[in-house]
């Protein structure tokens, strides 16, 4: 049994609610001992104010029962910044690779929370077990590499409304997402959407 349960080790708290700074962070994990048969999900949601209310959701997960996204993927919801929802498929050879990517996700979440330090100093240390998370930089690089492989092989998939080109442009202007996905990767996404938006083709040889 391989245990996929990381929040109990790497997070001090699963709900952070500071009325003074109006920052709310929610961490939700659906743990599993059996990822071949069960869903797994680690979701982080942030709410804060910055000229307007900014609401962002990040997730690494798979859903074993759905037709869509039943493979491991990253999911981002950036509706308040006009990017909407987008997904990035991840491919792993083994469960250990999947675990490594989840740890890489937690490392990247550290960077997300560090961005909020300007509104609430000490928030990162409050939410994360920093002594452990700081040592996950290699896993962070692994996830960036997996993102790169995914962009090369599959498209970064945007939810089907609005103008995709505008969303790609917004992606390119969002420093947090550039930091999370990797600058090279965001450039590749922009380049791939720059070509004529392709029809879905299957060529049966």
């Amino acid at each position: 049994m391989k245990e996929f349960h990381f929040s109990k080790k790497y997070f001090n708290k699963l709900i952070y609610d500071d009325i003074e700074s109006n920052i709310r962070i929610i961490i939700k994990e659906i743990p599993s001992l059996d990822v071949y048969e069960e869903d797994y999900s680690l979701r982080v949601e942030t709410h804060h104010e910055e000229r307007k209310l900014i609401h962002r959701k990040y997730a690494i997960e798979h859903h074993s029962r759905q037709d869509k996204h039943n493979y491991p993927h990253l999911q981002f919801k950036f509706h308040t910044e006009e990017i909407g929802t987008f997904w990035l498929r991840l491919e792993f050879e083994t469960q250990d690779e999947y675990k490594k990517a989840i740890l890489g996700f937690i490392y990247k979440i550290k960077n997300i929370l560090e961005d909020l330090e300007r509104f609430k100093p000490g928030i990162c240390d409050d939410i994360l077990v920093l002594t452990l998370v700081k040592n996950l930089s290699k896993e962070g690089e692994f996830l960036t590499q997996k993102i790169s492989e995914s962009i090369a092989k599959h498209e970064l998939e945007f939810q089907n409304y609005g103008n995709t080109r505008d969303k790609v442009k917004s992606l390119h202007n969002n420093p947090l997402l550039i930091n999370f996905l990797g600058e090279d990767n965001v450039t590749k996404v922009a380049a791939s959407y720059g070509k004529a938006y392709s029809k879905k083709k299957i060529i049966i040889k």
Binding site: S32, L33, I202, I203, I204
Partner: protein
């Protein structure tokens, strides 16, 4: 609303002009060497065809693709799964679709719900395996993966009495739905009585394979002693705090 479709572009058979090194050409039909020119005309025997699929099917095929697979590979492997030939004998591999059902029940007087799946056996009474898998547990105000709730994964369910009991209740429900088989099992202890199960399978002429794999094996394995890691995992699980399964 018109379903979205993906249109496919396929190469049609056509005459191609290629520049070849004559000495390296493999033996293909209808190769001509033009006098004083290095162009050859080759008639392609094209095995390519057009198919039109809707977006949902396209996504489903794409999800089945492994790292270096083509769509052609995916479709071929789906076709291959229908029959497998081994050394002259044909073995029929039956691929079932899965049915999803919800069970509302109790264990030791505490209400619990389970969302589970099993093979859609389509009334194949004599020859089936249910392969019941519990996907989600509903208890109190929470929904959990069964491994989180019970502290063990599905293949080790026999180590947790509550997990095994709920699993067997799911099997009862599946048999009722598929074959209108009434087991008449009411109390929790009834479900762990193999004689009652055997009687049901006889009465309704149900598959011997299913009896062995779906019933007999988990009951037999529940007598096995788990190792300490498994005991500790069950101890820490919500199911143990509710039912005190492990002292």
């Amino acid at each position: 609303m018109r379903a979205k479709t993906s249109s496919i572009t396929i190469c049609q058979p056509k005459i191609e002009m290629f520049k070849y090194d004559y000495t390296s050409i493999p033996s293909i039909l209808n190769i001509f060497k033009m006098e004083n020119q290095e162009h050859y005309r080759k008639e392609l025997i094209s095995g390519k065809r057009n198919i039109k699929v809707d977006i949902k099917t396209w996504n489903a095929l794409r999800n089945l693709k492994k790292a270096n697979d083509t769509f052609n590979d995916v479709i071929l492997s789906l076709l291959k799964e229908r029959t497998v030939a081994i050394g002259g004998e044909n073995l029929k591999a039956i691929k079932y679709s899965r049915r999803k059902v919800f069970l509302e029940t109790e264990y030791d007087y505490k209400p619990i719900g389970a969302e589970f799946e099993y093979n859609d056996v389509k009334q194949e009474q004599a020859n089936f395996n249910l392969d019941v898998k519990i996907k989600k547990i509903f208890y109190g105000k929470k929904i959990m993966n069964p491994s989180e709730f019970f502290g063990v994964d599905s293949i080790r369910k026999h180590f947790n009495h509550a997990f095994l009991n709920i699993y067997l209740k799911c099997v009862v429900l599946a048999l009722e739905k598929e074959f209108k088989a009434h087991t008449r099992m009411i109390f929790d202890k009834d479900f762990e009585n193999i004689t009652r199960w055997r009687k049901t399978y006889y009465e309704y002429s149900l598959s011997e394979d299913s009896f062995i794999n779906d019933i007999e094996e988990p009951l037999r394995l529940s007598e096995e002693k788990p190792d300490q890691k498994i005991i500790d995992s069950i101890k820490k699980s919500p199911s143990n705090s509710i039912w005190n399964l492990v002292k």
